[in-house]
Symmetry: none
Subunit: 220 residues, 4 copies
């Protein structure tokens, strides 16, 4: 948790610090990400950082938390309208993928979490998100089963895990791949994003759903 000092900072400065830190943690794995770098680029004194955060890990977990929250709130908007299972899932996938492509840094910050020493501590936070997401999918599946939208003879927990693995970075990576671009190149050249039209994203998501749908869907 940041210290109160951090929240007393002028909006502009706080944002600058977070932006720079986000960028650093997205670019380098945790152990290579450098506080010295961050403060230099943010134009603040090294000691100041320690008046805002306990230590490097504290800063990182905060960034990670922010990333998770932003994605959550972005994706959650799709849940307002109640529809059937397949439509909801399709919307979630599309939103998640769009978010990953619009904020490629955030995804990288999460990916770099693997590197944090004292593994458990961080992993905990990192997988809390995974855990929650999987549980949400499981819930969706069970509801779908009750409504008769989903076949009854599938293991909901396992299916939810599968869904999670599809919703993560997977589709975004696939889309970049079809452009012959790696995530790193994409991070460096933001203008590439213009080649990824909403239609293109929609198409891929629909394709995936097509495959899954006739799999999950109850057979008449």
């Amino acid at each position: 948790m940041p210290k109160p000092t951090f929240f007393n900072l002028p909006e502009e400065k706080r944002k600058r610090i977070l932006d720079v830190a986000m960028d650093e943690f997205a670019t380098y794995p945790y152990s290579k990400a450098s506080l010295s770098n961050i403060v230099a680029r943010a134009g603040i004194a090294k000691g100041s950082m320690y008046q805002y955060f306990d230590d490097k890990k504290d800063l990182y977990t905060y960034i990670l938390d922010l990333a998770a929250q932003e994605k959550m709130s972005y994706v959650k908007r799709e849940l307002d309208q109640k529809t059937d299972f397949f439509t909801t899932f399709e919307r979630l996938m599309a939103a998640g993928t769009r978010f990953n492509l619009e904020h490629p840094q955030l995804g990288q910050v999460v990916a770099n979490a693997l590197d944090v020493p004292g593994e458990g501590l961080l992993h905990e936070l990192y997988s809390k998100g995974r855990e929650m997401t999987i549980e949400f999918f499981e819930h969706m599946l069970k509801e779908g089963m009750e409504k008769g939208e989903i076949r009854g003879n599938i293991d909901p927990r396992l299916a939810a895990t599968l869904m999670y693995s599809l919703v993560g970075q997977g589709l975004a990576d696939y889309l970049l791949e079809t452009l012959g671009v790696t995530m790193h190149e994409y991070l460096a050249n933001p203008e590439i994003s213009q080649k990824l039209t909403p239609e293109r994203i929609e198409y891929v998501v629909t394709e995936v759903m097509k495959i899954l749908r006739s799999g999950f869907e109850a057979q008449k």
Copy 2:
């Protein structure tokens, strides 16, 4: 690539070096893995390492390569007998998952690849394996389409990518999760593996196939 020097080494010494390095790279993320540690545990001089490999990255990519090859050759054994698409894929998934559980280190080495700085260089190698696997799946799918085993209206490249994301660590992780065990705990307590009977693995794979099958399978 290791220098010729490395291959002139007595078998026993070469193996020792690789074993220790594998363990180190499985235990720590790339940037935390320590050459000093490796040479100390392998009982060789630090300078020698640089007569075998160009640098840390060179050693790592070689280890990574070995890991990939081992998995490949393990999994490839399932391809001998020609059967239909679904049976083949099921066997591949089962074999991959068994391998991941029997050689958890190798999987970790791959997972830790994400951490390598200097971006593309490493990713390249890491995704060469990915690339090859996906292409293989794509080939399988197209063959299946021709034989009429697979629906014709799916994007084979996309589907292959999906298959890849299912075959990776995913199922192994899921199995460990059902035991309430993290990969780190599993690495530390190898005896846990006894709880993962072949039947249990078979069950999970069958479940996944059940889901996929009626999705991919051509409708009559």
Copy 3:
């Protein structure tokens, strides 16, 4: 010297600051004692400290001064009744030792003075106390000589220095040692002091006086 500001402070606050500082300087050697710690525990702003004292050293010397004064005034009470040299010295030793055991912090503050860098400045103050004490003993000795209580053929200054080295922490340390306790453990567990009865202290002091009085030499 504290600035006037400090003396304008409400009694209660002033005392709190001094108590906390005393504790810190008793616990850690000068260079490890932390102003940040002190202000945090005293509940005042860091800047305020610099409105009370010039700097860390200024605060420390003041604390040191207080410690010396307190001990002085405690010990001086023994000087009211005029008696012979030996009785007076015995009383001083006993009082000094009791004080050291009752206020172990103060002794530690003095002991930690050795640590102050920038040499002379601090030593000066530290040894002002030493100087004064030795001079006082010298005076006592000379008086004793005149009265015929003390042999005339000893160097009073040297003897006074010897007396000083006996009166310091020495006896208190010895007493703790006989309990198998270090000064640090004693500081942490104040209840130990109950094992050090006045009789026990008296005994040790008497023993020392016995030695000094008639010397080591066997009596014929």
Copy 4:
């Protein structure tokens, strides 16, 4: 303990490092003594220091150990000829004092030991010397009692502790004081030592012995 690497160093270099380190630890209290300073003055790389010693504390304890050993071996030479208690003690005092004046740094290194954090650890080593010395004196006293040289009615442990407090820095400090010189000035101006003739040292030691031998009490 230094690592083997250190002992493989050319004599000249090893000595230079120890000299510089000794000087640093004699000049500054442990926490202010700076490794960076030491390596700079010794003209070696910072990393090298860590190939010779585990860490700062390791270097310090080694220096401390050396200091103690040197003093020990210097003083022990006086023990060859068997004589009576008083003569032996007088010789030990004289030798100890001479040593302190000839190697003022070593005494300072010991004095600065108080500052080492994780107190116990270091204190242990520091007071092992104290412990041994006191026990040696105790032994001397008991022997003297058996031979009838020493009165039987004194507490030998307490007396030994007293003797220890006299043999330490005390006399050296006194001698410097009579020159109006502090230890720090003495360390900085080694030529002062010429004013401290052996006769002067002998005189002071004899004076002290006179006092101890027959006591303070006037003879009837």
